[in-house]
């Protein structure tokens, strides 16, 4: 009590200040999430009358559904692929663009552009570029080993296309994170390193990378959670095909809920997704020691 009184006297935020945010979060995030958990124990075709409770049917079905198993596998592959493609590229681009040179500023602005377009527009654009008869791929496909430009004919190349488009779209955002992170590193570190005779590569690995540790964690958590809930590009680019070879978990959830109108089962998939995504991001934060809030500048 005494503590609260002190803070309010100096005008610092008290608990009351958090009320609007908490209410908002409860109404638009916690509430719907609890409803989804409830729905996962029901059968409902989305129409008027109340869902009928069906016990654990949906959950039992979930565990022996081959499509779900495949979807989980594909989601893991997509997540890993996104991280492996996006992290090195955006890290290097970000560090490079942190320099104050004028041409870098101009180029960074250009690199940033894909993030401004809506993902639907981007997916449509890439879809027409990847058209095997009239798209760009018809011309350059043979050079890069995609004979006749038939990208969506098999699961591997279709998934590669999805991962590529996703990376193309989100690398600018992570580049921006790394650029901000790199600019925070004090110049004196580099000056000291140069005096000691360290070259650019050595400086990158001994100063830049360790200093960016927290940025790497933030960016990775965002990437992983983003890839796990990735949806719109798949909807437009492949519609989960060929067959079900790009049906990742969020797309399966959409298909079950809004095309087959099996809301109960779709809710079970959604609940799984929430649990897994939360668990993974908590785990990443815990393992990386991000929670300790240790400064990268210790000992300065």
């Amino acid at each position: 009590m005494k503590h609260v009184a002190t803070t309010s006297r100096v005008g610092r935020p008290g608990i009351a200040w958090a009320v609007p945010g908490v209410l908002f979060f409860a109404l638009f995030a916690v509430g719907p999430m609890l409803l989804v958990v409830y729905l996962s124990f029901t059968t409902w075709d989305g129409l008027g009358s109340f869902p009928s409770v069906s016990g654990t049917d949906n959950w039992e079905r979930l565990f022996d559904d081959p499509t779900m198993r495949q979807a989980v596998k594909l989601s893991i592959i997509l997540t890993a692929a996104s991280w492996l493609i996006q992290t090195p590229i955006s890290l290097l681009l970000g560090v490079w663009s942190a320099g104050r040179q004028k041409n870098r500023a101009v180029l960074s602005a250009i690199f940033f552009l894909p993030l401004l377009a809506s993902s639907v527009a981007l997916a449509l654009l890439w879809k027409s570029l990847l058209d095997p008869n009239f798209g760009l791929i018809a011309e350059i496909g043979p050079w890069i080993g995609i004979e006749n430009g038939n990208v969506f004919a098999d699961g591997t190349s279709a998934m590669a296309a999805v991962a590529f488009v996703a990376s193309w779209q989100f690398i600018p955002f992570h580049t921006l994170l790394y650029q901000g992170g790199a600019r925070q590193i004090p110049k004196s570190f580099y000056e000291a390193a140069s005096l000691d005779g360290a070259g650019t590569v050595r400086q990158f690995f001994t100063i830049t990378l360790p200093q960016l540790r927290n940025t790497v964690i933030t960016s990775s958590v965002l990437m992983v959670v983003g890839a796990l809930t990735f949806f719109d590009t798949v909807l437009i680019l492949t519609e989960g095909g060929p067959g079900t070879d790009t049906t990742i978990v969020p797309y399966l959830m959409y298909e079950t809920g809004f095309q087959a109108y099996d809301m109960g089962y779709a809710s079970a998939i959604a609940t799984t997704l929430v649990i897994v995504a939360t668990a993974i991001s908590l785990l990443m934060v815990r393992i990386s020691g991000f929670t300790a809030m240790r400064s990268t500048r210790e000992g300065m």
Binding site: D45, G46, L47, G48, S49, L124, K127, S128, L130, D131, P132, N133, F134, N148, G149, N150, V151, F152, A153, T238, E239, G240, G241, P242, G243, T244, D245, E255, F258, Q259, A260, Y261, D262
Partner: protein
């Protein structure tokens, strides 16, 4: 309603802070207006002077319904208000609205599986008594088409758009260069595949990323091989009918076509919605294309010269020893109006009066001029004013003479089965499923 929402959004792009604040207020205001407008317009409230809310799929054909609403409002005390729902999400939007106070009073649908769930829940008005009473109205529609609006022997839909039979379109120029004629028999068709392969032309355009276009092949083949009754049984809820030998034969024929190169070697990446498949036909890269009759108007607007001089059409050939009548047709018979059962008393009567506008001469005339092929029995003499009379007449005769007109399977079956069915069909074309496994997968649909 649309202008109210769009107005502030346009204002919101202006840069200064004051403008933005004003725009925000305007948006909030508009949103509350829209909310209240929807609330009072819905059937949940019994105010008798509110307009009937009529939902329609927004596309080029909607002008016909706009004119019908205007004509109706001139003479009726209870007015109708047309809500044009942007196409792509029509089905989702209608489904989420049904059963809530925001549900439409009268709405566009595809008959069959698209309304079966509503009928189960007693959400639609049974129109059978009305059609019995007013036989003139009933007889103004082609019976096969009207009957597709039936569920459990009761009528729930009134035809309100043109007929959309699936036809075999071809490129006359490519045929002439190869010195061949359109196929009359299945052997002709197989010969044509070889001929066009030698000519370096893809025999059939196929949009493999859009599985409902592949479905058309399966529909016609099963109909020709096993007759219309096989799918009738499936549609009636007998999932063991997927085990009929005709289904296996159909699946084998599909993979035989794929192996012969009938669809070329990159159909898996071709898309329909972006127009890629239609362009293949128009640019002489493909010789034939199995598609709904709307393909004619699509070509007419995208490739007018091609549509005028080189676009030909024919029927799907018969299969050797096939049980099906080669005059049978598959496709979308038409679209229907259905009425929400929450309408009562004079509002319900007014809604039924509104449905009757579809049989009026002015309505049929509008449809024909708009390039559609009406599902009414008296349309034939009017077809002369169609932008492409030859085409309209052959599509009309095709539908009129068909002993059976099977509704597209993805519309006929409940949504729970339709979406996995399309996936299985795509896997069959991609050879991810062999014919036997395909049959097993279809039998497992529930």
């Amino acid at each position: 309603m649309r202008t109210a929402v769009q107005g502030p959004a346009r204002g919101g792009r202006k840069g200064t802070r004051r403008h933005r604040a004003a725009a925000l207020t305007a948006t909030a205001l508009a949103a509350s207006l829209v909310l209240t407008a929807c609330g009072s317009g819905g059937p949940g409230e019994e105010s008798s002077d509110a307009a009937l809310e009529v939902w329609v799929y927004q596309d080029a054909s909607v002008t016909v319904q706009q004119a019908a609403v205007e004509r109706f409002n001139e003479k009726s005390d209870i007015k109708a208000e047309l809500v044009e729902v942007p196409g792509q999400n029509y089905q989702d939007k209608m489904r989420s609205a049904m059963g809530t106070p925001n549900a439409p009073d009268i709405f566009f649908n595809w008959g069959g599986g698209s309304i079966a769930n509503f009928v189960e829940k007693d959400m639609l008005v049974d129109l059978t008594p009305e059609l019995k009473k007013d036989t003139e109205f009933r007889d103004s529609f082609i019976p096969a088409i009207l009957n597709e609006g039936k569920i459990d022997d009761k009528y729930y839909g009134i035809p309100m758009r043109g007929m959309q039979p699936v036809m075999l379109f071809y490129n006359k120029k490519v045929f002439k260069e190869a010195g061949v004629e359109p196929p009359k028999t299945w052997d002709d068709l197989l010969d044509l595949v070889d001929t066009f392969k030698k000519e370096g032309v893809t025999p059939f355009a196929l949009a493999g990323t859009t599985p409902w276009t592949e479905l058309m092949w399966v529909e016609y083949l099963l109909d020709r091989i096993g007759g219309a009754e096989v799918f009738d049984r499936i549609r009636g809820g007998d999932s063991s009918a997927w085990g009929d030998p005709a289904v296996l034969e159909t699946a084998r024929t599909i993979q035989d076509l794929v192996d012969r190169g009938a669809f070329g070697n990159k159909y898996q990446s071709v898309d329909y919605d972006s127009g890629a498949a239609s362009t293949l036909l128009a640019k002489d890269k493909a010789a034939m294309f199995l598609m709904g009759s709307w393909e004619y108007s699509t070509q007419q607007s995208n490739n007018p010269d091609f549509a005028k001089s080189d676009l030909g059409w024919t029927t799907f050939p018969a299969m050797p020893d096939g049980k099906g009548d080669p005059r049978n047709v598959v496709g979308n018979p038409t679209n229907y109006w259905s009425v929400n059962s929450s309408l009562k008393g004079e509002r319900r009567e007014a809604a039924i009066e509104f449905l009757k506008t579809t049989a009026e001469e002015a309505y049929v005339k509008d449809m024909v001029e708009n390039g559609e092929v009406p599902a009414t029995t008296d349309a034939e003499e009017q077809l002369a004013s169609h932008p492409a009379p030859d085409f309209a007449l052959s599509a009309y005769d095709l539908a009129l003479d068909a002993p059976s007109y099977t509704l597209s399977w993805d519309q006929a079956l409940p949504a729970q089965q339709a979406s996995p069915m399309l996936t299985n069909i795509q896997k069959l074309f991609n050879k991810q499923l062999d014919p036997e496994k395909f049959v097993d997968a279809m039998k497992a649909l529930k």
